[in-house]
């Protein structure tokens, strides 16, 4: 990681990874984030990943595609990714831009994201 305040933090909670983006990321930083996260998914054998993007004031085509790539890679490794915290204006601009999250589930915030993963696990166990 480079010097200065962390751009992204990745915390582990049981078999769930919570990645919070703290500030706007440029493309290289986004790629680095993707690599870091994917590496950790393997290391901790995560079942669920929450990416909190509430701090992003823009999610453009590159940002959307990177988030989807992360979710795709995670799925191949058996983990479900939930994107949380997309702001109202950002959501609309994304749609207008022509981007969506495909099959990747989204939730309002971290709390909702965790609840989603918990319910998913409950359904899977029953």
């Amino acid at each position: 990681m480079n010097s200065g305040p962390a751009l992204v933090s990745i915390l582990r909670q049981g078999d769930t990874l919570v990645a919070s983006v703290h500030t706007a990321l440029d493309d290289s930083e986004m790629i680095r984030f993707q690599n870091d996260l994917v590496r950790q998914i393997g290391e901790v054998r995560a079942r669920g990943i929450i990416i909190d993007v509430a701090a992003l004031d823009v999610i453009d085509s590159f940002g959307s595609r990177t988030l989807r790539s992360i979710a795709d890679i995670a799925r191949l490794r058996g983990a479900t990714t939930v994107i949380v915290g997309i702001q109202p204006e950002v959501a609309f601009a994304m749609v207008r831009l022509g981007m969506d999250m495909g099959q990747v589930p989204t939730a309002l915030d971290l709390e909702e994201g965790l609840a989603y993963l918990a319910r998913l696990r409950a359904v899977g166990a029953s």
Partner: protein, 314 residues
């Protein structure tokens, strides 16, 4: 004007070097180089005081450049400039002499000062501009004439011409700082973020809010990324418009390979990111107006506008 009071104390043949010091002072003030301005002011206020050695050495190079720049003006230009700056002749008086109007003389003086600055910079570097487009572009920048800058496509020329890019720096620094235009040079990933931040800030200042701000920033992000990906470098200009109504215009220019099939680049499905991966169709949907000019081998210019309180934004 400052010289006027001292005029009777100076020998007739001495007026020219004295004038040079004043012209330099005028230019220094315009460029807001405070340290040099202080030094020159000292010189002008008390011409009998000998300069210390260091100052003389630093100054002699500039002195030569100013002499050279003055020499390159036409006789008429030089005459009027010196009469005004040195002898303190009012524009009205000069106008009466020339059978012209005060406004016309003022405009002429403005042009002459702009030329003097350009010639001074060229003389200081001992260079001749490499192309015949350089002088008009530099002149337009020096006079801060935006209409003329657009006519000669100054922004594009600065991308093409290294000499002018360098010389334009002190020229762009001068004059009142405009708060309704922002330039962002695009060369690497972080510049994409800077460009969309600049756009957002300027638009917020202009009263844009909420979704409009985000749509604008997202569109800027897309066009800036195209520059980084396909042209290596270029620039993005963000400008506040007041006419025909309030809005924000974004112009993204590059000198890259250009887009071969513009039609295809602007097409995609309704909600999938297909297309050529240029992000252009999306940017177009985010803005109210969108125009793309591309020439193979000569780069691409995207101009797009978002209107404040637009009627047909959906």
């Amino acid at each position: 004007m400052r010289v006027l009071a001292a005029e009777d104390r100076i020998e007739p043949g001495m007026i020219e070097p004295y004038a040079i010091a004043t012209v330099r002072n005028v230019m220094a003030t315009m460029w807001r180089r405070d340290d040099r301005e202080v030094r020159n002011r000292h010189r002008v206020f008390d011409p009998t005081q000998p300069d210390d050695v260091e100052n003389v050495l630093v100054a002699s190079e500039e002195q030569l450049a100013i002499n050279e720049a003055l020499r390159r003006l036409t006789d008429r230009e030089r005459q009027v400039l010196l009469a005004h700056e040195v002898s303190g002749a009012a524009t009205q008086m000069l106008a009466d002499e020339a059978g012209s109007t005060a406004g016309a003389v003022a405009a002429q003086l403005k042009r002459t000062r702009a030329r003097l600055r350009v010639e001074y910079l060229l003389a200081l570097d001992h260079i001749e501009p490499p192309t015949d487009r350089c002088r008009p572009v530099l002149l337009a920048l020096s006079s801060a004439d935006r209409r003329r800058q657009r006519e000669v496509d100054a922004a594009r020329h600065l991308l093409e011409c290294d000499v002018c890019a360098r010389l334009s720096e002190p020229l762009l620094d001068r004059g009142p700082v405009r708060d309704d235009v922002l330039h962002v040079t695009i060369g690497a990933d972080p510049d994409i973020v800077s460009a969309r931040r600049a756009a957002r800030d300027l638009a917020a200042q202009a009263g844009f809010t909420g979704t409009d701000l985000t749509m604008l920033a997202t569109a800027v992000s897309e066009v800036a990324r195209n520059i980084v990906r396909f042209a290596d470098n270029g620039d993005v200009t963000i400008e506040l418009l007041e006419r025909p109504r309030r809005g924000i215009r974004v112009v993204a220019r590059d000198m890259g390979p250009g887009i071969a099939d513009v039609e295809a680049a602007l097409q995609d499905g309704y909600s999938t990111y297909s297309g050529l991966g240029l992000g252009l169709p999306g940017a177009r949907r985010l803005m109210d107006e969108f125009n793309l000019v591309s020439e193979a081998g000569h780069g691409t210019t995207v101009s797009m506008t978002k209107w404040f309180d637009p009627k047909g934004s959906a």
